[in-house]
């Protein structure tokens, strides 16, 4: 196929991407993003993980090392399916604190330290420059494949020229869409969408080639399986160290690669996107690698020995004369390379401008408050993008583009993975400190450079032969590929092992041994506890700052209009009708958050503290807040206790009140009852004494009336006696004469005494004499009185024709119970609770001169004797149970 056509197709494709990015930017500005913010676009944009290294390199990797290429995808798969562990927190923090890059995240977490920002930036730039070179190289190689296949002998561009054209083109595109404006949240919808389109192109291209290879060249799945089994893929053997190490490495890289962080965290809009990507992104990776092995195997079979397996994706279709397919594959590879370079360049440029250029600028020209910092930031980013691409091109030229793609990729992975300990420590360990992070990062970076990066240039290039064989400074234990004498390890795993181990050790030791500053501790708490809402005090104490100066500064960064509207809103929230709000801590926080979305947390913090004049909070402030909140908690606990006490008291009062009311009612009832009881005998006494005073009555009538008067007077006396007795008992002033007495004797006495009641009735008494042989220490007279009362009641009210009374005595645990059970009808259930009340008489039918005070007195006596009397239901008749203590001690009056 003509080379010119290829160039034209390439340009058309680029123009198409331009158009996509342009249209989306327009829509984004109009606020009409709609489905463009869907999880699908997010997932597709994540696919920049698979670069040209994947697109071309995976086949070469498979041809050289068998299935080991899969480890590069298993790591991200594990990280994404386990998103609830880490990514969710990362994305939440990124959104909440307007993180602009991974350097910003690390710097912000460790007290907004710009030093850390610079370190991470340097690591990222150094580690990813070879990676960018790799992309340029793959594009050049793929051009070369077409050029060599050009039949018309037209001289194609040489490799160097291709590379420079590609680099310049990419720089142009990136600058155009990556630095159009300074967004408050550093998002680039246009570019993300263009990348999503490229993701589709590369997937379709690779699948198309794969399908062609499996069903076009080979004879379907069965044939491919047979070929795989037959192929001797470089004697592939799982090397446990490499296998596990590379899975870990790729998992670390997918989190820490600047471009992945950019699309995954910075460009993220909500967690729903992440939830979808948790399975959709691994699915994408799976589809991307589905046909890698078949292509590698068939390529090794079909193509002449010595062909570059990295280019099988292109050379296989070309060798079969499928020009169109090869063109699609070429565009796929082109997409992989360009999308990676664009995002990487943006991410790196953001870091460079926010952590290197702007702080420098502010330091060099602190007085230049009037100039528009926005243009400086934008210019810094543009220059940085160009510089990053120039670096990549330079590396490509220096390294000569000869190394296998996979090796360079892994070295870059390991470089950025050095950020992982600081990142994880910062997210999950409040004790991680700035010093620890700096030590860990620097240690990891140095070890990585010495064991992996510098040796990758080959012996005699960056490191001399002598260093390789004899070690640094002639120390044998400092050989770059055999640190501390570990010379049997695979070089890659050797570098991974030592860089990560020493990194983690330095990080942990540094964190354990140092004391973090106040801002650091605040940020640590805020990041680690990001899901528990905002924590900690305001970061700014009320400063002496002129709001106008703040506005001027904000305008320099946010732009005039945005800054004005931000200030106006804040002023309105404070209830002021102007453009200048009071510099309250809350407002300063808000302003800082806005600024850090553009220039990074460290710079934003530095700029505000420059104006506010004091270094925000101190350790003492933190302590004060802590003790304040402790006091508040203590106070509220006290309040709660007091409230509970009040509730209890109120309840007791209410109860007492109810009792009083009841007593009052009872008293009224008692009074009316007693007047009635007193009046009845009085009435008859009066009536009969009147008749007597009239005289001339027959003597027998006089006798009769006199007896009636006498009877009624006796009744009155008895009633008054009872009342007196009751009141004495109720007041507890009764004098008990305690002594030992036989229960049997008391019952005998009681039975004899009760015989006077309705003596005409013959009762059958059932007793169990042996059980009654108990001596009680009690007041025998009083207890007997109770027994008499109960037995008399039975005699009075038992309505059976053959009345029987059973007396059962039982002794249990220091108490004696005496049951009196007759065989009458008993007391109706609803009256059972009434019988012990004063003047309670259930029927007047068998009235025998009682005033209805008997049982009430019994109850009072039993209370005084430390026992009780109660109605015993369910005994087949009226039944009362008297309970007395076996030995009554003197009660405290």
């Amino acid at each position: 196929m003509p080379f010119k056509l290829l160039v034209v197709a390439c340009l058309l494709y680029v123009a198409f991407l331009f158009a996509v990015a342009f249209i989306v930017e327009r829509r984004a500005q109009a606020g009409r993003l709609g489905w463009l913010r869907s999880p699908l676009v997010y997932t597709l944009s994540l696919s920049i993980y698979s670069t040209a290294w994947t697109f071309y390199g995976a086949v070469g990797y498979a041809a050289r090392s068998g299935l080991e290429f899969l480890t590069i995808y298993f790591g991200p798969t594990l990280v994404f399916v386990g998103w609830w562990w880490l990514l969710r927190k990362l994305v939440r923090i990124g959104r909440q604190y307007r993180v602009t890059s991974i350097a910003d995240l690390i710097s912000s977490r460790f007290g907004k330290s710009n030093t850390l920002g610079v370190i991470v930036t340097i690591i990222a730039v150094v580690a990813t420059t070879p990676y960018i070179a790799l992309q340029l190289q793959s594009v050049v190689l793929s051009f070369g494949v077409f050029a060599s296949a050009t039949p018309d002998g037209q001289a194609p561009l040489d490799a160097g020229q291709t590379a420079i054209w590609v680099a310049v083109g990419l720089a142009f595109f990136t600058i155009l869409f990556g630095t159009r404006n300074l967004d408050a949240r550093e998002q680039h919808h246009g570019i993300v969408t263009a990348i999503a389109v490229e993701a589709v192109v590369k997937l379709v291209a690779l699948l198309a080639v794969g399908i062609f290879v499996v069903w076009g060249i080979a004879g379907g799945v069965g044939d491919v399986i047979a070929r795989i089994d037959a192929a001797d893929l470089s004697a592939w053997q799982v090397q446990p160290g490499r296998w596990a190490g590379l899975i870990f490495l790729s998992a670390a890289a997918v989190i820490t690669l600047p471009r992945m962080f950019q699309v995954m965290v910075v460009e993220n809009d909500d967690e729903g996107q992440l939830a979808r990507a948790s399975w959709a992104f691994p699915l994408y990776l799976m589809l991307m690698s589905l046909f890698i092995v078949p292509i590698a195997v068939v390529g090794l079979d079909q193509l002449p020995a010595g062909s570059n397996p990295d280019m099988f994706v292109l050379t296989l279709p070309l060798a079969e004369g499928q020009g169109g397919l090869a063109m699609l594959a070429f565009l796929g590879g082109f997409s992989s390379a360009t999308s990676m370079v664009i995002v990487e360049a943006i991410a790196l440029a953001t870091m460079i401008s926010n952590h290197v250029v702007i702080p420098l600028w502010l330091r060099l020209r602190p007085a230049a408050a009037a100039d528009d910092l926005r243009s400086v930031v934008l210019m810094a980013r543009r220059v940085a993008i160009a510089a990053v691409l120039a670096l990549g091109y330079g590396y490509y030229q220096v390294s000569g583009g000869s190394a296998a793609l996979a090796a360079i990729g892994l070295i870059a992975f390991l470089g950025v993975a050095q950020v992982l300990p600081a990142l994880l420590g910062g997210l999950f360990w409040r004790g991680a400190t700035r010093t620890g992070a700096i030590l860990g990062l620097v240690t990891g970076f140095v070890v990585w450079a010495f064991t992996s990066f510098l040796p990758s240039f080959g012996p005699g290039a960056a490191l001399s032969d002598a260093v390789f064989t004899q070690g640094l400074f002639g120390l044998a234990w400092l050989r770059p590929q055999a640190l501390f004498g570990t010379d049997t390890m695979d070089p890659m795993i050797h570098a991974l092992f030592w860089s990560m181990t020493l990194n983690v050790i330095a990080f942990c030791l540094g964190s354990l041994l140092t004391f973090p500053g106040p801002v650091e501790r605040l940020q640590g708490a805020a990041f680690v506890n990001v899901f528990e809402g905002t924590v900690g005090p305001e970061r700014w104490s009320k400063g002496q700052v002129d709001p106008e100066a703040l506005l001027t500064m904000a305008q320099r960064i946010l732009g005039e209009e945005a800054a004005l509207s931000l200030f106006q809103t804040a002023a309105r929230d404070q209830g002021k009708d102007s453009f200048l709000p009071d510099p309250t801590p809350a407002f300063l926080n808000q302003l800082e958050a806005q600024l850090s979305g553009t220039v990074g947390a460290a710079t934003a913090h530095a700029m505000i503290s420059q104006l506010v004049g004091r270094a925000t909070v101190t350790v003492e402030d933190l302590m004060a807040v802590a003790s304040e909140s402790a006091q508040i908690m203590e106070y509220s606990a006290k309040l709660e206790a007091r409230e509970a006490e009040l509730t209890r008291t109120a309840g007791a009062l209410r109860e007492a009140n109810e009792k009083l009311m009841q007593l009052s009612i009872q008293k009224d009832a008692f009074l009316s009852q007693i007047s009635h009881e007193l009046r009845t005998p009085m009435t008859s006494i009066r009536a009969f004494s009147e008749i007597l005073t009239e005289g001339d009555l027959p003597p027998e009538m006089v006798v009769k009336y006199g007896r009636i008067i006498h009877e009624e007077a006796k009744r009155l006396t008895r009633l008054l006696d009872d009342l007196l007795d009751l009141s004495v008992l109720e007041n507890g002033t009764v004098q008990l004469s305690l002594g030992l007495a036989s229960l049997q004797q008391m019952l005998d006495t009681a039975l004899i005494a009760a015989r006077q009641t309705r003596p005409e009735r013959s009762f059958i008494i059932h007793r169990d004499l042996p059980s009654e042989a108990i001596y009680l220490k009690t007041d025998a007279d009083r207890l007997t009185q109770v027994f008499i009362n109960l037995i008399s009641n039975a005699r009075k009210y038992c309505d059976a024709s053959q009345p029987e009374l059973r007396i059962a005595v039982r002794q249990r645990a220091g108490r004696v119970t005496v049951d009196f059970i007759d065989n009458g009808k008993g007391i109706p259930k609803d009256s059972q609770s009434l019988v012990f009340e004063k003047f309670a008489r259930l029927t007047d039918a068998n009235r025998a001169g009682g005033a209805g005070l008997g049982l009430a007195i019994c109850r009072e006596i039993m209370t005084n004797l430390g026992g009780s009397v109660a109605y015993l239901p369910g005994q087949g008749g009226a039944a009362f149970r008297v309970t007395v203590p076996l030995r009554l001690e003197k009660l405290a009056a």
Partner: protein, 86 residues
């Protein structure tokens, strides 16, 4: 600053949601197990790539993707506006 008091026992739906989170946390661990399992297979006789290996790894891969896809909707709906935590 006071920690929210979390209830000791949960209703059925939040309970299921928490167990779903647990499952989603355990999934990568299961994945690591499956992906490292082949390390125990290596024997002298298996020096070259076999189609069985390829099929095994892709099956594990598809299983992980499927499980994550099954968990994702429940996890997403579980995120209340309060950012309720485990």
């Amino acid at each position: 600053m006071a920690r929210k008091e979390s209830p000791l026992f949960l209703a059925r739906a939040p309970y299921r949601r928490r167990r779903l989170r647990d499952a989603s946390r355990l999934l990568p661990i299961l994945g690591i197990f499956f992906l490292l399992l082949p390390l125990l297979w290596t024997e002298e006789s298996r020096l070259s790539l076999s189609a069985g290996d390829v099929i095994y790894f892709f099956s594990v891969w598809i299983f992980l993707i499927g499980a994550a896809a099954a968990f994702a909707p429940g996890l997403r709906s579980g995120q209340g506006p309060t950012g309720d935590e485990d």
